[in-house]
């Protein structure tokens, strides 16, 4: 009796809340810097797509502002041993087509990531050997070998669960009508113009969603994007460019929410990939170190990025618990740079070519580096190359230096392994150091945070010494929005989460 009374008391206020909260009617307009690619979590490849997915597809886990892994479709996980991961799922979650999200859907979605030809997720979940449904709300993953970055992978597209019924019915066309378990359901897409999502009333966390509709509009031109924000035609834009920051700050109708990102900007050196590696910069770490010492990162950032970004000398972002405080950004020291070049015994000036994608900011950055390094005895030639071509050129090893950025991943493995491990597919310069290889492999197996921190600290120190890459800065996520918008939480991954966001009428 007492129990049921308590239950009744507990239920009543909830009913009150539910009826007091009317269905939202507002629309939120979000500008993106380019049109996303396929809206299928298995095949999607662009950062812009991830922003749309934040409204469309919930993931097993999410990350918070401090990069902690927090529950979303899964309520928790346990490692029973290094090779067995148990996932506990949230009860009562529905997909947009009304079917139930359960252990079978998780198994289906993960297997889809693994088996679909052309899957962009395959490498992310490659560690999984077997997926077993223990009960409707429990999934057991058996791994080929211990792999601690896996849970972090499940906080992104690899952790998005799709409706089996809808995916099987749509087949190859799933990207044209995606069905997930996120706060909004897919309504319409006009390529290069808009992606429209409508509120999903049965969303498990519906009380935190305050818009009836979200419209994502790709606006590629930065000036036009800013003008739209200023004119009130959009409510929020991802990534205001640093040069526009001042204009937004001065405008009383607009505000900026900044957060440090997960990625980096770098110069990748060709140390051992083909004949182009046979240059002084490729062959001698001392020469690369001299180049680094000739560059004033702070000043370069001031000139090109209005001083907004943070100088760095390592792959892991400062927002991560795996950042190594021991690896500091060296101050500019032209005398020492000259000294190193003398020690290296190279012919002056040291001539080399820097391949640079054609974005105006990257080109400016290269020009600043060109001017600074000239003072130390470098003759850096800039080879401007359109981005898609530059990737191809880098892949073939046809470069000496390459200015290339990485958008960043939650787990440090995602910023390091593919780039500095000798087998990494994005290791353009074919840098190989057996110690680094071993530490990186070990950090994948290790699950304890302090042990992994120690390993990544060693990697960061060694890479700073060998200089296969010169890390320049950590970019920031700079989200511009109308002052009417509130409740936006900036998370380092730069996604626009809609939970808790409201707009004053």
């Amino acid at each position: 009796m007492r129990k049921s009374l308590l239950a009744a008391v507990a239920v009543f206020p909830m009913i009150g809340v539910a009826s007091a909260q009317e269905a939202p009617t507002q629309t939120l307009r979000i500008a993106l810097r380019e049109d996303p690619d396929l809206l299928d979590p298995t095949l999607a490849r662009t950062v812009m797509g991830r922003i749309v997915f934040a409204g469309l597809c919930d993931k097993l886990f999410d990350i918070d502002e401090k990069l902690n892994i927090v529950p979303q479709l899964a309520t928790g996980y346990d490692w029973t041993d290094g090779r067995t991961l148990i996932l506990h799922l949230r009860d009562g979650v529905l997909f947009h087509d009304g079917t139930k999200m359960d252990a079978a859907s998780v198994k289906y979605s993960l297997e889809r990531h693994i088996a679909t030809p052309g899957s962009a997720r395959r490498a992310e979940v490659d560690a999984i050997d077997q997926i077993a449904v223990v009960d409707p709300l429990t999934v057991k993953l058996t791994l080929k070998s211990p792999n601690s970055p896996l849970v972090a992978q499940l906080t992104d597209r690899a952790g998005m669960i799709v409706s089996q019924k809808a995916a099987e019915a749509a087949g190859k066309d799933f990207a044209l009508k995606p069905v997930c378990a996120g706060p909004f359901k897919f309504a319409e897409r006009v390529a290069q113009d808009r992606i429209v999502l409508d509120r999903f009333p049965e969303y498990w966390d519906a009380k935190n969603i305050h818009f009836a509709r979200v419209i994502y509009q790709p606006i590629t031109n930065t000036a036009t994007r800013l003008a739209n924000l200023q004119a009130g035609a959009i409510d929020l834009t991802e990534q205001v460019v640093p040069s526009d920051l001042e204009a937004v700050r001065k405008n009383p109708k607009l505000k900026i929410v900044e957060s440090s990102g997960l990625g980096y900007q770098s110069v990748t050196w060709n140390t051992s990939h083909g004949p182009r590696a046979q240059s002084p910069v490729g062959q001698n770490a001392m020469v690369r170190k001299a180049f680094e010492l000739s560059i004033d990162r702070e000043a370069a950032i001031q000139v090109v990025y209005a001083g907004v970004y943070t100088p760095t000398a390592q792959a892991v972002a400062a927002s991560s618990p795996y950042y190594s405080p021991g690896v500091k950004v060296p101050a500019r020291d032209v005398a020492k740079a000259k000294e190193l070049l003398k020690q290296a015994g190279v012919k002056l000036p040291v001539t080399f070519t820097m391949m640079t994608p054609t974005n105006s900011d990257t080109m400016q950055l290269a020009e600043v580096m060109q001017a600074m390094s000239a003072e130390a005895g470098f003759d850096m030639k800039i080879q401007a190359t359109e981005f898609a071509s530059s990737l191809d050129t880098a892949d073939r090893g046809d470069f000496e230096g390459y200015v290339v950025a990485w958008s960043g991943r939650v787990d440090p493995d995602g910023n390091l392994f593919n780039f500095v491990h000798s087998t990494g597919p994005l290791n353009y310069g074919r840098y190989a150091n057996p110690e680094v290889d071993q530490w990186l492999a070990q950090a994948r197996i290790e699950t304890a945070v302090p042990a992994r921190q120690a390993l990544y600290a060693k990697v960061a120190a060694k890479v700073a010494e060998d200089q296969p890459l010169m890390y320049i800065y950590d970019p920031k996520n700079i989200v511009g929005m109308s002052v009417k918008v509130s409740g936006f939480k900036a998370v380092p991954d730069g996604l626009i989460r809609l939970q808790g966001v409201t707009k004053a009428p």
């Binding site: 380019e34 049109d35 690619d37 396929l38 490849r45 662009t46 950062v47 030809p117 052309g118 899957s119 962009a120 395959r122 490498a123 992310e124 190859k172 066309d173 990207a175 044209l176 006009v190 390529a191 290069q192 113009d193 509009q217 790709p218 606006i219 590629t220 031109n221 000036a223 036009t224 003008a227 739209n228 200023q230 004119a231 035609a233 190359t385 359109e386 981005f387 898609a388 071509s389 990737l391 191809d392 050129t393 892949d395 990485w406 958008s407 593919n418 597919p425 994005l426």
Partner: protein, 314 residues
């Protein structure tokens, strides 16, 4: 007329076939591997191989071409590699947008260029002639993207009169549709207006010196009648040729203007497709554009004959 049209039509098909081979061949010369561009940031080598197989990139060029053209003649332009939408659907969505933009730009260009050309010819070396020339030269030398951004800042951001970018279709809401397209149409039309103005002016000057104009004046006709009915009609032939050629400029100008105003039209479609190495879209768009271009030139030829009876020989 029938024979003339027949001969012109017979040339269309080989022209388009040549275009299809050229497009296909040229984009193979484009640097960059489409599989790499499509594979995104993390390029899993296994997945790269799967993409190459799926898109037939590992097959000889001739096989790829035969496969593509074989489908094209059946009316299937293929599917976008990047977003998996049928190319025909994309073109069907975008073509009306650019057509509307182009039509409005052309109307603006004609509306400004022809009257300005007539006025400046009639007032030869007078104040109006110099004024029109200066404005025309300014229009010709202003880059589209700069003018576009300036207009957005002035009219949308400062005055708040028009939406800064985007597109609403005529069917959805014609007022909004005009509001979203008038600025880009003006930007696009203004350069063509300048060219049309200068050509109309010189054609009019030539016509005004002709004997029949003197005769018309001698008959005591009113000046505006002389200018419009006698001089202008004869000045129109070179202007029509130019107009048809400028329609091509319109299409290429749309590429820039659509970027600035974020209009989801043909120009934006092809630019994005080139950067993303989305070959089926590039091929489809170029083929359709070529067809339109060939069609417009055919139309111009027919128009000459209608305007100038002396050309009706066949």
């Amino acid at each position: 007329m029938g024979g003339f049209l027949g001969r012109r039509l017979a040339l269309v098909l080989p022209t388009l076939l040549l275009v299809s081979i050229l497009v296909f061949g040229l984009q193979q010369l484009m640097p960059g591997d489409p599989a790499l561009a499509l594979a995104g940031e993390e390029r899993d080598p296994l997945v790269l191989a799967q993409i190459r197989t799926e898109l037939m990139l590992d097959r000889p060029l001739a096989v790829q071409y035969a496969h593509w053209i074989g489908r094209v003649v059946q009316g299937d332009l293929g599917v976008s590699w990047r977003i998996r939408m049928p190319v025909a659907r994309l073109i069907g969505e975008k073509l009306p947008v650019t057509a509307q933009l182009g039509f409005m730009a052309f109307v603006i260009a004609l509306g400004i260029g022809i009257p300005a050309g007539i006025v400046s010819a009639v007032n030869r070396n007078g104040f109006l002639d110099y004024a029109a020339n200066i404005v025309g030269l300014a229009g010709l030398s202003t880059p589209n993207f700069w003018l576009g951004i300036m207009l957005i800042l002035l009219i949308s951001v400062n005055l708040g009169w028009l939406p800064p970018s985007g597109y609403v279709s005529l069917a959805e809401d014609w007022r909004q549709s005009l509001a979203t397209t008038i600025m880009p149409a003006f930007v696009l039309g203004n350069a063509i207006a300048a060219i049309l103005m200068r050509h109309t002016r010189s054609a009019m000057l030539t016509a005004m010196d002709q004997d029949y104009v003197r005769t018309a004046r001698a008959k005591g006709l009113r000046e505006w009648r002389v200018v419009i009915r006698h001089a202008f009609r004869n000045a129109l032939v070179p202007v029509v040729t130019l107009g048809a050629l400028e329609l091509g400029t319109l299409l290429s100008g749309a590429v820039l203007t659509e970027q600035v105003f974020s209009i989801p039209g043909f120009g934006k479609l092809i630019v994005d497709a080139v950067f993303n190495r989305d070959y089926p879209v590039v091929q489809g768009v170029v083929l359709v554009t070529a067809t339109i271009y060939v069609g417009l030139n055919l139309l111009a030829d027919v128009l000459y004959v209608l305007i100038n009876p002396r050309l009706r020989v066949a």
